[in-house]
């Protein structure tokens, strides 16, 4: 009605474009170059790890058959059987997932589907705070709080048990599951919810039948990332699992009972003292490297299983179609209530942990503690440690963002489906490798092969390697959810592949990139093992390194680790909690600062 007059008045029709047409702009040619560079970096890291393990395994005779069939591990008697460790690994990580995945999924659903948009971000941040707590603190909390509970509830003497380790791990895995799942849910278009609800489905029915099937792929990715996290964790498991070797029980009953007894996982075996006692050649060392190889195989196997089409069907038929039930209203209210409860759980945990940590970490409340350098064994503050940690985390963040993104683009866009499948498995395996192995490999590579001393750069590299798979997998999962029509429309408008990547794929994956980076860096910031071996010292170095390849730094997580290990006097323990609290506060600040950025990124995703 009004438009036509307007058209005549101001816009005299569309002129031919010939006047404007020139060379095509913005080839986005840097995209393939960057992807290539990232691929090279990731490939080099993989090669380093493999070279380390292969050179280790071949440095002495390994009896592979006995390794995977025998139940007795005793280096003194040259008996090397890893069955009990494999059992421990399986029990601990699967139990952890069995607890964390249902709760995490339910919490994610409660968070994204039942919470008004304006509260979502705050609640999500509260859950992600759980990721900010460094492993050593989880371990100490487990020692202090969980063991007593275990011994009272199950009559486990001491409370050290596979079950305790699984519970600690499940809390550590929870934020990963929740965060990645929330991203997946955010990608389900609102029209799906609307259509479901318009057909008379109740809230839980909409969630269960309309939303969940579409988010399932991404939520599974969250679970798989959680699995990698569980498999790779060392320090926290260390402190509550008991770490006693023992022959494998032969009866079902015995196996079940072993869950309530101390045990050992592949990771704790590798992270324990043995690698240092074994030297760097001979049967013992070779067998330990073989253990690393076995662990990688276990992870790869679990990954393949989790990726199998059976679990991750993106379309197709629902196998057990739901049936109409009686009392749909009551069921709906019950379902909503339980989802909300599941959401409350991680948030209460986060609050509880914050209270416990703050209570013990009183030194952290003193500004002087933040601003003065450490003195002697346990005096002074943690100024240099803060600077060192920030340096390491920032540089590792840059590396993980670049490498993770390129890896994700390779998997999600450039590789053929078959290659992509293998690359995804490799990435997950990298993510599940215990950081201790990364530390040893880094120590071997930078220290022995390159002849560097301890160096912050090596630390950056190794921490980056810890965070890279998390970023890569979060982003890959999101690329997989990109609506096909969007790609088609972009292509129909004449965009080149690199331009499609630059303008459709990259913007779409930004939320996952941020989530992956936050989760990855939160984990990297709490990581001790790679730093202890390759990058930090207890004292005598500043926060800012004095050089590049031969300049160690000090860092908060390793500081906490050292203080908590053997400190004789109460001052050291106080300092340890103080430093841990500082670390948690820093990561919390990081999360809070990232909130507005995320808000912007997520608003753009519709």
């Amino acid at each position: 009605m009004i438009t036509s007059t307007h058209k005549e008045g101001q816009c005299p029709g569309l002129r031919p474009l010939s006047a404007l047409r020139g060379v095509r702009p913005r080839r986005s040619g840097w995209v393939p170059i960057v992807v290539g560079g990232g691929a090279a970096l990731v490939g080099a890291s993989g090669a380093m790890l493999c070279a380390f393990l292969i050179s280790g395994v071949t440095s002495g005779p390994v009896d592979w058959w006995a390794l995977v069939t025998s139940g007795v591990w005793s280096p003194q008697q040259s008996l090397f059987g890893v069955l009990p460790m494999i059992w421990g690994t399986a029990v601990v990580s699967l139990l952890a997932l069995a607890v964390a995945v249902p709760i995490g999924w339910a919490a994610a659903l409660g968070l994204h589907e039942l919470t008004p948009a304006r509260h979502r971000r705050t609640l999500r941040m509260a859950v992600e705070m759980l990721a900010a707590v460094p492993s050593i603190v989880y371990g100490l909390l487990g020692v202090v709080l969980l063991r007593g509970l275990m011994s009272r509830l199950f009559g486990v003497t001491g409370g050290d048990s596979l079950l305790a380790a699984a519970l600690v791990l499940s809390v550590m895995v929870l934020p990963t599951v929740v965060s990645v799942s929330v991203d997946a849910l955010a990608d389900v278009p609102d029209s799906v919810r609307e259509t479901g609800a318009a057909l008379g489905l109740s809230r839980v029915e909409v969630i269960g039948s309309a939303v969940f099937p579409q988010a399932r792929g991404g939520m599974l990715a969250g679970a798989v990332l959680g699995l990698a996290r569980a498999l790779g964790e060392t320090v926290a498991v260390f402190l509550v699992i008991g770490r006693a070797d023992g022959p494998l029980a032969s009866t079902v009953n015995g196996l079940l009972r072993s869950i309530l007894q101390p045990g050992q996982t592949l990771t704790t075996k590798l992270g324990g003292p043995e690698p240092l006692l074994a030297g760097t050649s001979g049967t013992h060392w070779a067998t330990l490297c073989a253990l690393g190889a076995v662990l990688m195989c276990v992870i790869a196997g679990l990954t393949l299983l989790a990726q199998s089409r059976r679990l991750d069907r993106r379309g197709g038929r629902t196998r057990f179609p739901p049936r109409a039930r009686r009392h749909r209203g009551a069921r709906d209210r019950l379902g909503v209530a339980s989802l909300r409860t599941a959401l409350a759980l991680p948030i209460l945990l986060a609050v509880g942990i914050a209270v416990v940590v703050l209570e013990r970490g009183t030194p952290a409340l003193d500004p002087g503690f933040w601003a003065t350098p450490a003195a002697g064994a346990s005096g002074g503050g943690v100024r240099d440690q803060i600077i060192g940690t920030l340096l390491l985390v920032a540089t590792a963040g840059v590396m993980a963002a670049a490498a993770g993104l390129t890896l994700a683009l390779l998997i999600g866009e450039y590789a053929t489906p078959r290659v992509a499948g293998w690359m995804r498995t490799a990435t997950l395996t990298l993510g599940g490798i215990p950081s201790i192995v990364l530390g040893l490999a880094g120590f071997w590579f930078f220290g022995s092969a390159l002849g560097w001393g301890k160096s912050w750069l090596a630390g950056t590299f190794l921490l980056g390697l810890v965070a890279t798979p998390i970023v890569a997998l979060a982003v890959t999962a999101q690329i997989g959810r990109l609506p096909r029509e969007r790609l088609e429309t972009a292509r129909a408008l004449g965009l080149r592949r690199s331009q499609v990547v630059r303008s459709v794929l990259l913007p779409y994956t930004r939320p996952a990139l941020v989530t992956g980076l936050l989760l990855g860096l939160a984990r990297a910031a709490g990581e001790t093992a790679p730093l202890l071996f390759a990058a930090t010292v207890f004292s005598g170095a500043g926060g800012m390194p004095a050089g590049v390849v031969d300049a160690p730094v000090v860092s908060l997580p390793t500081h906490v680790f050292n203080l908590a290990q053997d400190a004789a006097d109460p001052a050291a323990i106080r300092a340890a909690w103080g430093a841990a609290t500082v670390l948690i506060i820093i990561i919390a600040l990081l999360l809070i600062v990232s909130m507005p950025i995320r808000r912007r990124l997520e608003k753009e995703r519709v």
Partner: protein
């Protein structure tokens, strides 16, 4: 009694900046008042972007985040703007909206047709399936899909999806059906078939049809309601 009654309904956008309006709101639709008696077919029309779809969403309490409705909406005796979510879900089994864009769930063609049915209607599986197949036939889709009932519904053409969306709503046999451009993607023959089916509901079901095809509305409806742009917007 009226199946649908609307008084002074306005839908407005919550403005985050609290500028435009005295209440920090920006009106999108209305104010509108009309009623649909039981068993009648009413047509709603107006230019693109005037707020027809938004209005239908408001009627069954499905406004997207950020939009608020004010006024009075009564559908089948239920005061929509003052209901708990579970009561609204209950209402939506009796007053079904067929949205303008037909969304397919990641499921087969038959699975999609059964989608609402199997949640809402308690009956043996084979009866439900029979009903779904009949509904597909009613909208003229049966012949096109009978030999690939388990193929992913996402592969259907746009017009096929539109008919499927209609079929799964009809299968529920609701008292009120809100149709948002039910034949916009259909050729004449298919549209005629759909119209015939809708005609057959006249008298015992209440229909509110949004369409830009005035001729079609004239054929189908007992009376027509025009929708106008809210007066306070800039244009």
């Amino acid at each position: 009694m009226n199946a649908i009654a609307i008084r002074d309904l306005t839908v407005s956008k919550r403005s985050p900046k609290r500028t435009k309006d005295n209440k920090g709101r920006h009106p999108l639709v209305g104010p509108a008042s009309f009623a649909v008696p039981h068993g009648e077919v009413i047509g709603l029309y107006g230019p693109s972007g005037v707020g027809k779809s938004t209005m239908l969403r408001a009627l069954v309490g499905l406004l997207p985040d950020g939009l608020d409705a004010e006024g009075v909406i009564r559908v089948l005796g239920v005061d929509v703007l003052r209901q708990r979510p579970s009561a609204l879900a209950e209402l939506r089994t009796r007053a079904v909206l067929v949205p303008q864009i037909a969304v397919m769930f990641p499921d087969g063609i038959i699975g999609n047709t059964l989608f609402g049915l199997r949640h809402v209607v308690r009956a043996p599986a084979n009866q439900l399936r029979k009903r779904a197949e009949e509904a597909l036939a009613e909208v003229g889709l049966w012949d096109e899909v009978r030999d690939r009932l388990n193929a992913p519904a996402a592969e259907l053409s746009v017009g096929q999806r539109q008919r499927l969306a209609l079929a799964r709503a009809l299968a529920l046999d609701p008292e009120v059906i809100l149709l948002d451009e039910p034949t916009s993607a259909l050729d004449e023959a298919s549209a005629a078939e759909v119209e015939e089916t809708l005609q057959s509901l006249r008298g015992h079901r209440t229909l509110l049809v949004v369409s830009h095809d005035i001729e079609q509305l004239k054929r189908l409806c007992d009376s027509l309601v025009p929708l106008h742009r809210p007066t306070s917007t800039s244009n």
